[in-house]
């Protein structure tokens, strides 16, 4: 292992301070709070309580305790030796969020928000879910603390993610089928917001990604930055320098911002978000909001959105239920415009190929979401020198996707 003292690591302190969002929840022009008046007082209260909790040692110690003892953090940073050899390019590391309890990064956020909900005296939790990972993580945290939990899930996703549906029910959550619109994540989010409109006085809504009105994009980011903080520490320990690239999939964008954020001020670390290219770039065939969307408002914040010229949300598609969403977190829109991060996309087929390859080469079955990040790396790494380092965020495990992929391969489990 080469030991070099890299000046760039030390330079971190002197780089310009990017402090977003501002006090009103804007990341540059993006973000904000575009939500009915009924919910505004609850968002104000949530922001107030969160900012107090964030600086409260006791709150942080409690969260740390559960992240370590219950989730199993820190998650490993694993050198993917055979994938590296196969691609004959840079050294590839996997950040193993799939090894967290419940099998994805989502639990980092739900534990934080459930602790916060209890501080605010809320007895009931609601959530939306696409792939079901956030639903399972929410149901898990709610079960552990004895809170009532309702999860909204689109009917189409209930079909695609039957295993997670069953898990949520095992965990004591009530799963509410959503039959409006495209019956996927977007519509589940609408329904959860509508529930919250009526239940806001005793219910906390745990949004699963860095989307929604302020303070959610900031708060969910903060709870997910544990991924990037650990990665930074781990890579410095092994390589004695920062990585050249960090690659993560982007649906709403919580795993990506979680691993990006602690590196934002390190200009030498390039950040790449991989969106769902689905079946191609015709309208309704993909979910690449940053690559193909327009500035618009969806679910309470201004960001890139896939919509038509009249402002109606477009239909989207991805093989991965977790990426099947027409919007994206406002901070990603900001990072795109600032050119601090680059956003690309891969197709359904490329993701499935990466899913298979990763299983065979590394003995790791990644979530179809994370397989998008691997798929892009497989293309990109071919042109990169061997002395470079890449970290891929393996945001979740592919157990939930096995039957969907089997179906696609013509098998019925």
């Amino acid at each position: 292992m080469k030991i070099v003292t890299d000046n760039k690591v030390v330079q971190k302190e002197v780089k310009r301070n990017r402090s977003v969002p501002d006090k009103s929840g804007h990341f540059g022009k993006y973000g904000g709070k575009f939500i009915p008046e009924t919910l505004m007082p609850a968002l104000d209260e949530l922001e107030r309580e969160y900012l107090i909790a964030k600086n409260d040692t006791k709150f942080n110690e409690e969260l740390q305790y559960y992240l370590k003892e219950y989730v199993g953090r820190p998650s490993p940073l694993y050198f993917a030796k055979r994938l590296t050899e196969k691609l004959k390019g840079p050294k590839i590391y996997f950040k193993r969020e799939d090894l967290n309890h419940t099998g994805a990064h989502k639990i980092n956020n739900t534990l934080g928000q459930v602790l916060l909900a209890m501080r605010m005296g809320k007895k009931r939790i609601i959530a939306e879910t696409g792939a079901g990972q956030h639903g399972v993580a929410t149901a898990t945290a709610a079960a552990m603390f004895g809170l009532t939990c309702d999860v909204y899930m689109g009917e189409e996703d209930m079909r695609r993610q039957a295993l997670n549906l069953f898990k949520m029910r095992l965990l004591g959550a009530n799963v509410v089928p959503v039959r409006t619109g495209s019956r996927t994540l977007k519509d589940a989010t609408n329904e959860a917001l509508r529930d919250w409109m009526s239940s806001v006085r005793d219910t906390h809504y745990i949004i699963g990604s860095v989307v929604g009105p302020h303070p959610y994009p900031m708060m969910v980011r903060d709870f997910q930055t544990v991924i990037g903080r650990e990665t930074r520490e781990q890579i410095l320990k092994v390589e004695n320098r920062l990585p050249d690239w960090i690659i993560a999939c982007v649906g709403g964008g919580s795993n990506a911002i979680g691993i990006f954020y602690p590196f934002i001020e390190d200009a030498e670390v390039k950040l790449i978000g991989v969106e769902a290219g689905g079946l191609g770039f015709d309208v309704g065939q993909h979910a690449a909001s940053l690559s193909k969307g327009e500035k618009g408002i969806l679910h309470g914040s201004l960001s890139y959105v896939l919509q038509d010229s009249d402002g109606q949300t477009s239909q989207v598609h991805s093989i991965s239920a977790g990426l099947d969403y027409p919007g994206v977190g406002p901070e990603h829109s900001y990072l795109k415009d600032e050119k601090r991060a680059e956003y690309v996309s891969v197709t359904d087929d490329e993701a499935v190929e990466a899913f298979n390859l990763c299983a065979r080469l590394e003995g790791i079955i990644p979530a179809l979401e994370s397989a998008h990040a691997i798929a892009y790396t497989m293309k990109f790494a071919l042109s990169v020198d061997k002395d470079k380092i890449m970290v891929i965020n393996i945001s979740g495990s592919g157990d939930k996707d096995s039957s969907e992929v089997a179906r696609k391969m013509g098998m019925d489990l």
Binding site: M40, P41, L193, S198, L302, Q307, G311, Q312
Partner: protein, 269 residues
């Protein structure tokens, strides 16, 4: 003078509340929407709240949501709705307030939308997903163009927020009668009268009550305590009921339903 202001001035002299039916533009068709507005005017409605369909409304319950889906499925565009208002203006001067999601407004450009809206004879807008903190720019444009931005107050609104809202709202205030989404309900909260009084102590603007008002009894009660009574989902349910029938049958039946609500809200029954 803006038609909304003029109407509320007249009603104040008569000591009468305004009755404000909500309808979705384009459900079941723009042609029927036009006939309904004219019919409601004849039946004594004072203002019209015209819903501009949006694919992802957050503040709306299942009835208005599905009316939006039906209208969008029929291919209705914002430009068609503005054209509809223009056509209505050749026969009726009833004040029309659009209900428009900020998603749509942002996409069209606030200034561009308001300018074309004023041109066709639209008098104002309610924007259910635009809180007061983000509304200043639009209110400024509205003031310039004589277009009223009507703001919402909810039962959850704090005193501090209420003061900001009453100061900025134009035309009238929309008081949300329930903690929740739009929709038909059997009962209304008991402390409504008190909450409306609280708002009146802060402003001379008329206060209209909406969300959950579904029948004649509730309209009568609302008419006693507020300056305006807004009924949406109950009317849209009627429209849905007659949606497959001939347009004239629909207009006659829904018109009768609205006529009854007008009388109840004004205490004439």
């Amino acid at each position: 003078m803006n038609r909304i202001d003029k109407k509320f001035n007249e009603l104040r002299v008569k000591n009468e509340p305004a009755f404000i039916p909500f309808i979705t533009a384009g459900d079941p068709s723009l042609e029927v929407t036009k006939s309904l507005v004219i019919e409601f005017d004849k039946k004594g409605a004072d203002l019209i709240e015209l819903g501009i369909p949006y694919s992802d409304p957050i503040a709306d319950g299942p009835v208005i949501q599905s009316s939006y889906y039906r209208a969008l499925k029929g291919g209705v565009k914002v430009a068609d709705i503005l054209e509809l208002v223009k056509e209505i203006r050749s026969t009726s001067e009833i004040p029309i307030v659009s209900m428009i999601s900020h998603s749509i407004l942002y996409r069209h450009g606030c200034e561009r939308f308001i300018k074309s809206a004023v041109q066709v004879g639209l008098d104002g807008a309610t924007i259910p997903d635009l809180p007061i903190e983000e509304a200043q720019n639009i209110i400024d444009i509205g003031n310039q163009e004589g277009f009223r931005i009507v703001c919402f107050i909810a039962p959850t609104t704090t005193d501090r927020r209420m003061e900001m809202i009453v100061e900025k709202s134009q035309g009238f205030l929309y008081y949300i009668a329930v903690v929740g989404i739009t929709g038909v309900r059997n009962t209304l909260s008991g402390d409504l009268a008190e909450n409306i009084q609280k708002i009146r102590r802060k402003t001379g603007l008329p206060v209209a009550l909406g969300f959950g008002i579904s029948n004649r009894e509730q309209a009568k009660m609302a008419g006693k305590i507020a300056d305006g009574v807004i009924v949406g989902s109950a009317i849209m349910s009627e429209i849905e009921k007659f949606g497959k029938q001939d347009g004239s049958v629909l207009v006659e039946n829904v018109g009768r339903f609205v006529g009854d609500l007008v009388k109840s809200s004004k205490g004439r029954v």
